[in-house]
Amino acid sequence: MTDIAIDIQDLRKTYGDLVALEGLSLAIAPGEVFGLLGPDGAGKTTTMRLLAGILAPSDGSARVLGMDVFREADGLKRRIGYMPQRFALYGDLTVAENLLFFANIYSVSRAERLKREAELLAFSRLEPFRDRLAMHLSGGMKQKLALACTLMHTPEVLFLDEPTTGVDPVSRREFWRILYTLVNQGVTLFLSTPYMDEAERCTRVAMLNRGRLVRCGTPGELKAGMRGMMLEVIADPMREAKARLTALPGVHDVQTFGERLHVRLDTADAEAAVTAALDGLTLVSLRRIAPGLEDVFNALASGEGPS
């Protein structure tokens, strides 16, 4: 086995004039949990499909486990798993039937299948629902079933396209519990997510925006690489506070998180400047915070290039 699980070289996908993915290059080591982050339309699903070998690249190449994902797809298919964003199981088959179907089209032996099925049903807590039609499962259970189907043939590299989108927080936590077990077994994970808290769980994160890679690194590196400092401000009225802070010199951007404002700025005496700016308003709280990935992402999405 090579020391690079996923090797992406200048991968490009265009639809006519529309550039869905612009020259992406990444190298992912075995056992990594690699996150692809970006807003809708950033090119996450395109990347996923290209890597799963079901979309022809316009240019560039990608190798998974040393094999070209498009040209050597037949040899690779048995060793990778791909879970599409859209629910892609058979709704009119039961949980157990879906598992049986996917095990058999991957030629999993009977003994192995029974073992995996018992494991995965227990793992995903779907055992009580094994005879239920997949279309009658809740959103979270559907995703767990989709994952279980993808895992029947024990893939070495797993591609998950927004696996927890539309899933309730409890199910999400459970889903991640399953993913960590896989990582402990040595599986390489490549997943896309719109959730920053999920991105924080990754070993490394790539941020995509409008088809371009804007930043790649560990969550810590990305946060450390951000210019300026972060202040959390709670003031009343919030709208007025936001307007004043946005106008303040040295402020890069102001983001709203519920009733809190995250202000990123480059000023010598930041706290004093902010306090002065909010004169006349009720300042409930003001403190320095460590930037989260969301702050990094917002900074990048608001037009600032890599520093």
């Binding site: 799963a52 599409p84 892609a88 179907f101 039609l133 189907c149």
Partner: protein, 377 residues
Amino acid sequence: MMLRTWMIMWKEFRQIARDPRMLTVVVALPTFMILLYGYAINLDVRDVRMAVYDQSRSRQSRELVDAFARSGYFHIIAYPEDDREVTALLDGGRARMVLIIPVRFARRLADGDTAPVQILVDGADSTTASTALGYVAGIVQEYSSRVALVTVYRAGLTMRGAWKPVENRTRYWYNPELRSNNFTIPGLIAVILMVLSALLTSVTVVRERERGTIEGLLVSPVRPMELMLGKLAPYVLIAFGDVLLVMAISSAVFHVPLVGSPALVLALAGIFVIAVLGIGLLISTVAPTQQLAMVAAVMATQLPTVLLSGFIFPISSMPKAIQLLSNILPATHFIRILRGIFLKGNDLAILWQPALVLAAIAVAMVLLSANRFRRTL
């Protein structure tokens, strides 16, 4: 590999079994079509409404009218008294034909002269008109020779039996009573199976694309040919069930005789449905949506089959270019097979050619479908 093909087939079967609409399409549609078309498409000309303007009012004229009434082909609905009434009957369409027997009819017969009678036929419906005229000629001929015989006998000349200088004795082989059902129903079986089979497979691949389940198949080791064969197999069984269904109805309801080998009919019907299911499959692999696929399946099968397969209109009277087109339709060959086996009792020694063409179409369609199947999104 066998297992993957088998799994696709197994999955399809489960899905079909859980789809209640499928049962309607598979059972109700062919039953409805064969009953509707079987009764509606009847080329027999019977009970032609006719009127008789008998100016002669003689024993002889009544004998002639009787001959018409007894034939079973005509139904006498009126006895007009003058020309105006005659015209009104034909104009209004109440009568399709009027028999006018002149005043001097009996007189002329008695004198040994030729006694003309006039037949007015509504030529607007040319098919009925020409068929009816055929019957008229027969009836008049028959009556005429009887009169001749009686006259000769009365003149004192005796002959052994009823002497006719030449008599044609026509016998219709294969369909002695010329029942049009015996001709149309085998064709109808082909038309129904054609439309139904193409419809069955037309959505199976495009549905996977529409529902997104294609992604799971594309990333899996399933190969296009495995997918095609796995998709085809369940429908071959279903379509074969429909073969049995429509054949049972044709013999139970329409009394179409099966002279030849039932086993041969079923075997060749099997090849035919595979060919047509293949056409549906090909449509399904290239169609962008399920709806379009279904429309395309019906368009590609129903009209061409009804018009060009020799179902009703003889292929020999079509222009050469159209004949070529007709020969690429599976139904054309299957109709030849069905008529051959049902009515004539043909065996494979005679029908090997259309059978071979059907087999070739079947293989070509499946290969083409697998070839056209896009392995990417």
